[in-house]
């Protein structure tokens, strides 16, 4: 129970981080969205057996976390959440792919193990970029950026409501769970039947609340379109520098395997 409360508050924290004022927070959100997108494409497009060439990409989240003054432990805990999901996908690989790619001593390393690790590295890299993007930009600003980048407005509004809805849902969830906790006197639960009615109850309450929110929106002249306050933020020199700098680095790192080159430099066996 405390865990639900805790992780929920944790989630709000991500929103609070976006309110900080650091050089990366101040950048126009479009620059950050596009750079993150480019980062993701570069990482995801690597060969399935690639690991070493992806590692230098860690520099992007590391640098942003430092400049953005983000709490390392907190961001780490958010990233760790994706690991089980990545493993769920990746662990099938060693079962199907038993081609021997290398040997360490007398140990055969199957391709499946390598691609599994590769998936894990990919997941960690992209998740960290995404979480850091939210932490230095804020979800609403991301929606706004997507809209300015010509994503249909209704879609942007939907995304924003989805985000708000998550808060509504978790809020109701916490309350329902608390009420249930108090009545089960700390026992583990009431069984699956009651769980079903609990979920039904939760959906009903969320629906009612969503309806009341809609009512409040109508009361203030809502007609299907969320207008933004259009804060002064424009795409200037800083944004251009940020984007071009990072994107050229990503392309370089994508084309050349930096760790291998570096290793070659020391052992004198340049390819």
């Amino acid at each position: 129970m405390l865990a639900i409360d805790g992780s929920f508050l944790d989630f709000k924290q991500l929103d609070l981080l976006a309110l900080r004022q650091t050089p990366v927070h101040r950048l126009d959100s479009r620059a950050k969205v596009l750079t993150t997108l480019c980062f993701t494409i570069c990482v995801v497009s690597f060969d399935r057996y690639q690991i070493s060439a992806m590692l230098p990409f860690l520099i992007y989240p590391a640098v942003l976390m430092a400049i953005g003054d983000l709490p390392f432990g907190y961001i780490m805990r958010k990233i760790v959440i994706v690991i089980p999901f990545a493993l769920m996908i990746g662990l099938f690989n060693p079962i199907f792919d038993r081609q021997v790619l290398m040997q360490i001593g007398s140990l055969d390393i199957w391709g499946g193990w390598i691609s599994c690790i590769s998936i894990l590295v990919r997941a960690i890299l992209t998740a960290s970029a995404a979480i850091i993007l939210v932490a230095i930009t804020g979800f609403p600003a991301i929606c706004e950026a997507l809209e300015k980048l010509k994503m249909p407005q209704t879609f942007a509004v939907q995304l924003l409501f989805l985000y708000r809805y998550i808060f509504v849902l978790t809020d109701e969830g916490v309350r329902t769970a608390r009420a249930r906790q108090l009545r089960t006197f700390g026992k583990r639960g009431l069984g699956i039947r009651h769980f079903g009615s609990l979920v039904g109850h939760l959906l009903l309450r969320t629906w009612e609340r969503a309806e009341r929110i809609h009512m409040a929106m109508l009361a203030r002249g809502f007609a299907g379109e969320v207008h933004s306050t259009r804060r002064q933020s424009h795409f200037g020199r800083a944004e251009l520098l940020f984007m071009s700098g990072w994107i050229s680095l990503f392309i370089l790192l994508r084309l050349y395997n930096a760790p291998q080159l570096l290793g070659g430099l020391f052992t004198g066996t340049l390819p």
């Binding site: 709000k12 929103d15 609403p140 924003l160 009341r212 009512m215 409040a216 203030r220 002249g221 306050t229």
Partner: protein
């Protein structure tokens, strides 16, 4: 709209599940009046308020706001004129920051950005919440949420303010601050509550609802002195008008004139005498 009157005529409302929530409700509220609508839980207060800005439509009867009868055509203008503050501020605050939330209404009115900015800042100043403007609403305290919810309505420059149980769930100090705030407004005010002490301070006139019917309509003091009426409507005399059990154990009614509650004090009276 020269006279911002609220005229409710023979209003009847039956919910789809056949609950009759309002039975033949009629009253006329004049410009600048401050009216309390009191009644126990389920008396129909919220249902009544939801009619005033057209969210619920009457089963029968009519509503006139200013010069306009409530109808599909007049709805947008009436929603601007009638600023509705809902019971649970969580329902009213849905934008990412306080600023965006207060700007939501003016932006829907199609005002230009400078005008929006001015209105937002004025509204926030009115409720003493300027420093909260960049915070996400769900991080605020109960009292702050309530004040911001009021600002979201003030920014539309309504002529009539409607508040559903505004002091519900507030701690004494937040309640006190809110009452002082509302006292300073010159709008026509309609406030529902079962916090009769608040009604006593805020409203010169009171309408009593009971099971969907208007039981009484008159000066607040007269109504609060009518113990029989309050009892049948499942209400209790405000503490400020009750005999104080500590200093007058003989239960002699202490106050029959307007209660002398200084605007800054929290309690009906202190025990210094």
């Amino acid at each position: 709209m020269s006279h911002h009157i609220v005229h409710v005529k023979n209003l009847q409302h039956t919910y789809p599940d056949e609950t009759v929530a309002l039975r033949d409700v009629s009253f006329l509220i004049h410009h600048g009046e401050s009216v309390g609508i009191i009644g126990a839980n389920g008396a129909g207060k919220s249902t009544l308020l939801l009619h005033l800005n057209g969210y619920l439509s009457a089963t029968s009867g009519e509503i006139i706001i200013g010069d306009d009868q409530l109808s599909k055509e007049t709805l947008p203008e009436i929603r601007r004129t009638v600023g509705m503050v809902f019971q649970d501020p969580e329902d009213q605050l849905f934008m990412p920051t306080v600023y965006d939330d207060v700007a939501f209404g003016p932006l829907n009115l199609g005002l230009d950005p400078d005008e929006v900015e001015t209105r937002v800042m004025e509204a926030l100043q009115r409720v003493e919440a300027v420093e909260l403007r960049n915070k996400p609403p769900y991080h605020l305290s109960g009292g702050e949420k309530k004040r911001v919810a009021i600002a979201t309505v003030l920014s539309m420059l309504p002529e009539i303010l409607v508040l559903d149980e505004p002091t519900n769930g507030l701690d004494p100090q937040a309640r006190r601050q809110l009452i002082a705030l509302l006292q300073a407004f010159h709008h026509t005010r309609i406030v529902t509550s079962h916090d009769l002490d608040m009604v006593l301070e805020l409203c010169e006139r009171t309408i009593v609802l009971h099971e969907g019917k208007v039981m009484a309509d008159g000066p607040t003091l007269d109504i609060f002195n009518n113990e029989e009426l309050l009892k049948t409507c499942r209400l209790e005399k405000p503490f400020a008008m009750q005999a104080c059990p500590v200093c007058s154990p003989d239960k002699r009614p202490l106050v029959s004139q307007p209660p002398l509650v200084p605007p800054h004090s929290n309690k009906p009276h202190d025990h210094e005498h």
